[in-house]
């Protein structure tokens, strides 16, 4: 018996693989972006960075959400590395291909803030709030966090001698030792995020806050000493001019200059077309590059400042979020939400190179010597075979992730719905068996008689009634105010059923079951009773039945003790073959009677394109069916040991 069981289970493995393969195929071949339809293509045109935490606009978060859902499907994975590109590698003829030099680090989150030390070592702040120091080869030296358990990302970093100052999405300013990552000072949290930091000549730290203030922080305690008021909305960028003037800009589009000693506003410019995300001063001190939400990098001469006469580098098709100069001030690198970083020749305004496959909004670019570093919210495509393997593993471990619709775990939804469907089907199957087996046996005993013919015709007519029609007719006739309002037709219990006493609860429950169960059973009578009749006819012709008759046993004993008991077993094993129809068939019944079972769950999931639920239900029911077949085979082999020998 055990070897047979083992053999059967081994034989099931290819089938299981096939089932997972087909569900996988359905989802991957589903036309269009499986997720985009959920979110539409809308979103604010501005996409400005008035967001929470680590900044980033609605559009960027939306794009991330779509990719997160693709990640659920195993199509993409988050790529937590810093990429490097060579300034000299830029190929002039082919703009598209800027070869990537390396991917550094396997970080705990997306790199959002970067700092490069002389040795080529790197300090990275991530979107989930870690600060890491990596050596030149990308191996982590130390990891620190401004707030344990905090969820806000690191937004900006600046180096101050032997320590690194880190600003995060909750407005905290923290100092870590570059040597070992030990925290040396921390300011109180502001609540709104910091977007940029600038070290002033006197050791004071200036910060740009999303609440619209430029703050000056005390060098040792890091607490805010003075707030510079002038901006009407979030400040995103700071820069220090060679003459000691502090520049700031942000969502209100105006560039403002401050006297850091007195804190007075020196001047403000005319507004730029849209929000400014970063200001970068060229190393020769002659020009400013402004990263604009208007998809352009604006170049501003420093000297005649009050009037803003700018030239712009255009090419990005989404907001430019970051910009950096090469050491000789001749070239410029910009990073954008359009998921590319681009290299520009400043004098001619020509685009020299473009990163091909960052595949995520660029958050920071840095140029150190001949190397360009990019930190981006990248996503990497997962190769198909890996996708399949991970889908297979998830099927085996029953990990179907979360629903797209309400973010509840899929297994939670299924474990809530499955018992209802099974409950209904068990009742229905019991009724089908209780009614159709006696009918079949009787028809076999009286073969060719009136009962045989009449019952077969009636059952056949019942079998031909479409179940949705009968359900509608029953509702029309028995559950409508216009006719008889005898039976409930919605759900499995009345409102307020919890307060009923046990008996009236049971009565309420039973009333609700009448219509759905009726619709589920009538179609099964025909096939099962016919099967019972055939099996019974075959058994009656067996020799042992003839022997029983020849012994002179009364006819009822011959029929029930000898024939019926032997044919019953084969009929019972038929249960397994009815399983595939269970979930498919329950779609209509549960839809019509508003029952929250598997069929209804699947129906709603299909309407909402809730892929994880669809995949889970398909896999679940296929595997259940397979198990049913296995059980049926095992039962059969218990009854008829000859099967095992095959």
């Amino acid at each position: 018996m055990l070897t047979y069981l083992f053999k059967r289970i081994i034989a099931m493995i290819p089938t299981l693989l096939g089932i997972t393969f087909i569900t996988f195929l359905i989802i991957n071949l589903a036309p269009g972006d499986p997720v985009a339809t959920q979110f539409g293509q809308g979103g604010s045109e501005r996409g400005a960075g008035a967001g929470e935490g680590g900044g980033g606009g609605d559009r960027e978060r939306q794009a991330d959400a779509i990719k997160a859902k693709k990640k659920l499907l195993g199509m993409v994975r988050e790529d937590h590395t810093v990429s490097t590109w060579g300034l000299g590698e830029a190929v002039q003829e082919e703009i598209q291909s800027w070869p990537r030099l390396a991917r550094l680090g396997e970080l705990p989150g997306w790199p959002q803030a970067l700092l490069v030390l002389e040795s080529g070592a790197l300090v990275v702040g991530t979107h989930e709030g870690s600060v890491l120091r990596l050596d030149a080869g990308g191996v982590p030296v130390w990891t620190a966090r401004p707030a344990e358990g905090g969820t806000s990302g690191i937004t900006t970093m600046v180096r101050d001698g032997e320590r690194v100052l880190v600003g995060d999405g909750e407005g905290r300013l923290t100092a870590f030792s570059l040597e070992d990552g030990a925290m040396s000072a921390q300011s109180t949290a502001l609540g709104r995020g910091l977007r940029d930091l600038q070290l002033l000549p006197d050791g004071t730290v200036a910060s740009a806050g999303e609440d619209g203030l430029v703050r000056l922080h005390d060098a040792s305690s890091l607490n805010s000493r003075q707030g510079l008021e002038g901006h009407v909305s979030g400040v995103y960028a700071l820069a220090l001019l060679p003459d000691g003037t502090l520049l700031s800009a942000g969502y209100d589009r105006k560039l403002r200059a401050w006297d850091t000693g007195s804190g007075a506003l020196r001047y403000e410019t005319e507004p730029l077309p849209q929000a400014v995300n970063e200001i970068a001063l060229s190393p020769d001190g002659s020009q400013l590059a402004l990263a604009g939400d208007d998809r352009a990098v604006h170049l501003v001469e420093v000297a005649p400042l009050p009037e803003l006469r700018s030239r712009s580098l255009e090419g990005h098709f989404k907001a430019v979020s970051t910009v950096a100069w090469s050491a000789d001030s001749s070239r410029l690198v910009s990073g954008s939400r359009d998921e590319t970083a681009r290299l520009w020749e400043v004098a001619s305004g020509k685009e020299l190179a473009r990163t091909p496959d960052v595949a995520g909004a660029v958050r920071q670019v840095l140029v150190v010597g001949e190397t360009v570093y990019t930190g981006a919210r990248s996503w990497a495509e997962v190769p198909v075979w890996k996708r399949y393997l991970s889908w297979l593993w998830r099927t085996i471990t029953l990990d179907f992730d979360r629903s797209f619709v309400d973010d509840r775990p899929v297994m939670e939804k299924i474990t809530a719905a499955l018992p209802i469907t099974i409950f209904l089907n068990v009742i229905a199957l019991a009724i089908i068996y209780l009614i159709s087996i006696p009918l079949g046996v009787l028809a076999a005993v009286r073969r060719g008689g009136v009962f045989d013919q009449v019952s077969s015709v009636i059952l056949f007519l019942l079998y031909s009634i479409p179940n949705f029609w009968l359900a509608t007719l029953l509702i029309m006739g028995l559950s409508s105010e216009r006719t008889f309002d005898l039976l409930p037709s919605v759900g499995l219990y009345s409102r307020g059923h919890q307060d009923l006493s046990y008996l009236s609860w049971l009565w309420d429950r039973s009333l609700h079951l009448v219509l759905p169960v009726t619709v589920m059973v009538y179609g099964g009578f025909a096939s099962l009773s016919r099967y019972a009749r055939t099996t019974m006819l075959e058994t009656i012709q067996e020799d042992y039945v003839r022997t029983a008759r020849a012994k002179g046993l009364p006819e009822y004993l011959v029929v029930f003790k000898h024939a019926f008991r032997n044919s019953l077993i084969t009929i019972v094993t038929l249960v397994a073959n009815l399983l595939p129809a269970m979930i498919g068939g329950s779609v209509i019944v549960e839809y019509i009677f508003s029952i929250e079972g598997m069929g209804r769950l699947g129906f709603d999931a299909i309407l909402a394109r809730d892929y994880p639920v669809i995949m889970a239900i398909t896999t679940f029911s296929a595997v259940l069916t397979l198990l049913g077949i296995l059980v049926s085979d095992l039962l059969y082999s218990v009854v008829d040991p000859r099967v095992r020998a095959e």
Partner: protein
Amino acid sequence: MKPSESYGARIWRKLKGHHSGMAGLVIVVLLALSSFSAPLVANDKPIVASYRGSLYFPALATYVDSWVPWQSLRYELKSLELTEGWFPLSGHYAVLEGRSWKEARAAGELSLDLWPLIEWSPTQFDRDSLKKKPGEDPEHLLGTDDQGRDVLSRLLHGTVVAMLVGVIAMSISSAIGITLGLAAGFFGKGIDLVLSRITEIVMCFPVFFLIIAVIAFLEPSIVNIMMVLGFVGWTRIFRLVRGEVLKVRSLDYVAAAQALGLPAWRVMVRHVLPNAISPVFVAIAFGVANAVLAETSLSFLGFGDTSVPSWGETVMQGRSYVSQGLWHLTIFPGLAIFVTLTGFNLLGQGLRDAMDPKLRD
């Protein structure tokens, strides 16, 4: 029993003696007749009309509209007719200056016109006559639905949809099932193993759920529905054919055919298949019933093609208006489905009994 009686003749003789099987056959024939005559019985265009001196047969154009489910082919045929004037399609589309035939008749411009019994097409909206019950509007014998479409006309043209779905879906299923079953049974070994496994896998899926999912992802056109029904419904035929071929293959005459040096395909197609195919007819009869049920269920759930008059769609409307008492929307199309299913099921049952060797007389 006459010794020279052929297999087909014996089946036919036994089927003739099988009352319910014959009843099924009669129903199926009537349905076929109804579907062929629907454009001439219920149409908003005249069968024959004389307009400005030339003779038109406008109702014939409906044959192209309702009997050709492939939209591109339909457009192709229409354009051939309009631009090339191809016979026998030509002359169905008269230029009525933007008016309908009924308006032309009302204006008294038709010198000769012969109209169908029911002067409504299944997709024509009668805005003045919404949700009429039978008897409330003498123009609509069985009433109208919520958009003013004539229920009787939809019932008649629904036979076209049912026939198309049943026949095309089952053709696809049979083609796949017979080909694969023949290959698996005849060649055996590896091919049989692989094909049987694939069948086992397909059979494990909840078919109806799969159909809804695929239809929801694709565009719910009647062609897609037929294709999907065809592509998931072949497993039963595969198993039947495979089993029969396994039996037939070991017979002496097959060995003889092979010994003659006939190529494998010839042995398969000319010698094995004809003797293994008869159970397929039973499966096809039941399969057509299943396909019709599946299509009407899809329409009932709202996944159907709303451009064709499916019975399921009307039942769905009936369900939405239960509280308004529009019983005719549920009763009549439901009866039509019931009769169709009964017809094909009875026919299948009759064929099965007629072919059952144990019931040989």
